[in-house]
Symmetry: D2
């Protein structure tokens, strides 16, 4: 029998998680929730996902637009084994008690604090920590990106200290209220929260971060300076990432000069929604000087956490004890690594 999954919030992350769940053979989408009868609600129906509303008083608005509503979130929690909470950052907290009362498991996203679940998740680094857990939290897109490259580096080579600067995209492509159109805006609270967030997965790592918001929509770009525990060659760095399917090398020399080119590659590869779920690392932008490693990586903020949610379901639902087998199953279903 397939694991029954609900998705609370059918937005940027929620709609992608729904597609990813639907692409698995061991789980199914029981329902998704929406608060407004927008075109995305129509599409959810067209995809065949039963549609629920967050609150009863929203039903009328949907019906006026000719959208069939299956029930409310209260109804949906009664029908699923696990809920992926993809509500906006900070909102998940309010639903925690509802999930608990209904006796279902729930995955929160990186917009929530670690404390909401007490355990945070990355498939490579700590798959087992969420084994059978009632609640877990898939860390944010940026944290996922940093963990994906730093964890193997630390494991294979050893990392003494990391200083990373995150050049953030200002808004998502379809956000109608964006950031300033022509400005660079630093995150003044220093060091930024990204370092401590990496430590929810790798508590032992010495990492500090700075961040700047830029008027672009496609990807975040990380500039990473890592002091390693020993002198290595660039080929050793590449070797550390060799088995990590969710890190993909790209080449500036071959024309992949910036984030726009990487998103074009994703379209050319016919990825669902043109998403690029791997972390892109520039192969010709890796440099080791003494024990210090420099590299750039790009993070597709809309999708890199999607496969992590799938693996997190498998861990929490005790569906697959072996992390690498879950990862491989997820990757194959989503075209990752092709």
């Amino acid at each position: 029998m397939k694991v029954r999954v609900g998705i609370n919030g059918y937005g940027t992350i929620g709609k992608r998680v729904a597609s990813a769940v639907a692409a698995q053979d061991d789980m199914e989408v029981i329902g998704v929730t929406k608060t407004r009868p927008s075109y995305e609600a129509h599409l959810a129906c067209a995809e065949g996902y039963p549609l629920y509303v967050a609150k009863p008083d929203q039903v009328a608005a949907f019906e006026k637009e000719g959208i069939k509503v299956e029930g409310t979130l209260e109804d949906l929690v009664g029908k699923v084994d696990i809920m992926v909470d993809a509500t906006p950052g900070g909102v998940g907290e309010a639903y925690r008690e509802l999930y608990e009362r209904a006796g279902i498991k729930a995955i929160f996203q990186g917009g929530e604090d670690h404390g909401i679940a007490g355990v945070s998740f990355n498939a490579y680094a700590n798959y087992k920590e969420s084994w059978g857990a009632k609640f877990s939290r898939v860390v944010s897109c940026n944290t996922t990106g940093l963990v994906r490259t730093l964890y193997p580096l630390d494991k294979e080579i050893g990392v003494e200290r990391v200083s990373a600067t995150i050049v953030r995209r200002g808004a998502d492509p379809s956000d109608n209220k964006g950031s300033a159109l022509n400005s660079l805006e630093p995150s003044l609270k220093l060091p930024t929260h990204h370092g401590p967030d990496v430590q929810t997965i790798m508590p032992w790592i010495n990492i500090t971060t700075m961040a700047v918001k830029s008027p672009t929509t496609l990807m975040h770009l990380h500039c990473v300076i890592a002091d390693l525990k020993k002198e290595v060659k660039e080929s050793d760095v590449l070797a550390a990432w060799d088995d990590v399917s969710r890190v993909r090398l790209v080449s500036g020399k071959r024309g992949l000069k910036g984030t726009a080119n990487i998103m074009e590659l994703a379209k050319d590869l016919d990825r669902p929604r043109g998403d690029f779920m791997e972390i892109a690392v520039w192969q010709d932008g890796i440099k080791v000087v003494g024990k210090t490693l420099y590299y750039y990586q790009a993070v597709h903020q809309e999708s890199d956490v999607v496969p992590e949610n799938i693996d997190c379901i498998r861990s929490m639902m005790k569906m697959e004890p072996d992390a690498s087998r879950s990862i491989k199953k997820t990757d194959t279903s989503l075209g990752i690594g092709e």
Copy 2:
């Protein structure tokens, strides 16, 4: 036997035409050409398209990158029935003689002048004019967009005069050299060439245009003011476009407020490469005052001409005498109208 198609230039348009040809059951991709061994050349090989170079001296560069080269453009013209010339604007002219000498047919794109072929093409408006032609020209993305909405209006209602303003995208998403980052730049040569270009398809129409370049990458946006031959209701306007599968209504009220939302819709619809091959017309942005009609439409510059190229092949190769049957076949294969 399938019609054998070559594609000269595997760039923004060429790669999309290749995918579209490959999706048809009555034609096949015999080869594509590339001038540089970029990542797109690798992808063409991965897609299984035989790769040719424009000139013999380019072979070495490809082989150095481990890319198998099947031959040169001179070789390719000997193997195909028809060449889709998707070289950069103004370059096609130089290849015309080669195609003629090789005795093959060729389709040029809108970056060339009408005179290169003597006949220009739009599937709805003049499919038959290219019937059996040696050369034809698929008009540009903007012209295709204007013809798709104006031709049915003129046919069903009658159009006295059109004034359109084209807000152009500054560069394509993956262009590394774009337009000014924060500027609006008018096309000073007035009226702009778009009006006369529409007249290569609809010589009788009275149309003048202005144009402004804007720092955005996703779509062009047209503001159209059409004086009609009689007073009609907005529902009559919608009825005129009812059977035109390549015009798609979108709704600002449902959240499709701008071009970014439309491109998001294309991704959500799982369109190949996230393309939106229809012309998007805002349903809630149509207004008739007296005999004057106002409407907005958005044009995906990278893809709206792709289905036109397919239909043009069918007309030139005498594969399907009925325009609407060719259109339907093309649309079904590409997901248009779903």
Copy 3:
């Protein structure tokens, strides 16, 4: 004795009007209001403008930042002859009664409806209509721009019908929350309000407008199609604008290709704040075909209404009966036309 002017709202427009008032020899800034102790409040003090707060409970916040507060808006209205209300659009309405009660005159900005004052203002077109008025409204930046070029055209040549498309800047340069970063967004309510707003100044003119928001910050750009009452030459069009100091011709051939270049010109001309208070019309982007005139103009949304506010004060305060003399005085003080 100088006319005593207060400025309610020291933001984008208010701070510029304050500088402009201070540059006149027949009026003076008595005080400006601010709601938050931002850096602009510090600058207002540094400029020597007495600072007032909108509401008594805001005083503490200012004092905490070391900013001296002279009093509240209620105090300020008791000290001035006329208030320039430069509060955000729609807010002025709420203050109207306060001004009335205090027995002072007030100028509202284009974000308010015409009805707030019953009379709208443009220095060239209807200076006399505000003569001695208690309230008047300086029309918006876009309307000011359209009136500045259309009024002389209509007067000298005669205008039958105008269709204008307004490519709007998405946000002001220093707005931290802007429009979508990479999208074009049409104004779906058609025809847009700009036409009727022009008619508050020129009630007889036949004008309709469309509008598109673009991700740029510097200027609006208008594409104007005007059917004239007779056939003229381009030189006749130029002649109509000859005496209009607030229309300035620019040349694409000389490198002023877009709005960014025009703002660079303003800086090179050492204009206060780098403002461009004239409407820029591209000299090499004017075309007459038959009786139809096409032209492009750029509007600096932050400043074109500033000289209008000054002239409006003179008209309302009966300081100068001759419009052209007020205009000349204002222009000279602000460097317009140099």
Copy 4:
């Protein structure tokens, strides 16, 4: 007698240096050169700067536009004591011999290599090294920015190691060919050249840099991580910059959240051309953790080197032996520090 200064290249930097020279009482602009009769050539004439062309065959084009040409660059070198070479990066090299032959001194800009002059200049850090020199080089905008904050930190506190990430503006505001419109592009050659360039001024400092190009026009933004030689408080850091007039603290809390707000401040301060010649450091974005200092600074790429050029003239021409007196004189004339 005033020092006679020529400016070769009246573009972004050249026109600003001309204005700055003209604002001094101990030097004067003898002439400027231009290669095309653009609007900037007209403005140079309007400013009263004698205009020279780079090559004799350019004279006709200028005269056709009604611009009076005083002679060629060959003529200008015969009339000046020192030439500020503000030609595009890499072009200065070609003129070096001409200056040498004419027996005049010359200042090159940061687009040239250190080797062109053998000595590089920053007013605070090494004013005396250019004393009486025949040639010197004012380092680039980014290097100037880094030296202005790092030199005092190193002198007052001691700096062990610096890791800086430079988020570059993609193009200048008036560039009509910019960078990619919606992309982030890393500088793949690592570490980037900025570190070694800082070492042309401070050869002893341990600094490495990374860089990312962003689609914005206003300023560069630096994220600096400096390991200090001892533990200090944030107030010690501020104290180190206390006497450095060309470093200016800005406050995010007061509304200066990003680079756009800082450029707005420059306009509000009525700076010439709206330039911000100081390095802006966010006061509420400074953090010391242990011995590690984090801070953000913004660099106005069009103008921060302008006062350095003035001081460099004084040092090379032996006009003022005391660096701090030259700096003060320059700053006062340009409004820096007000």
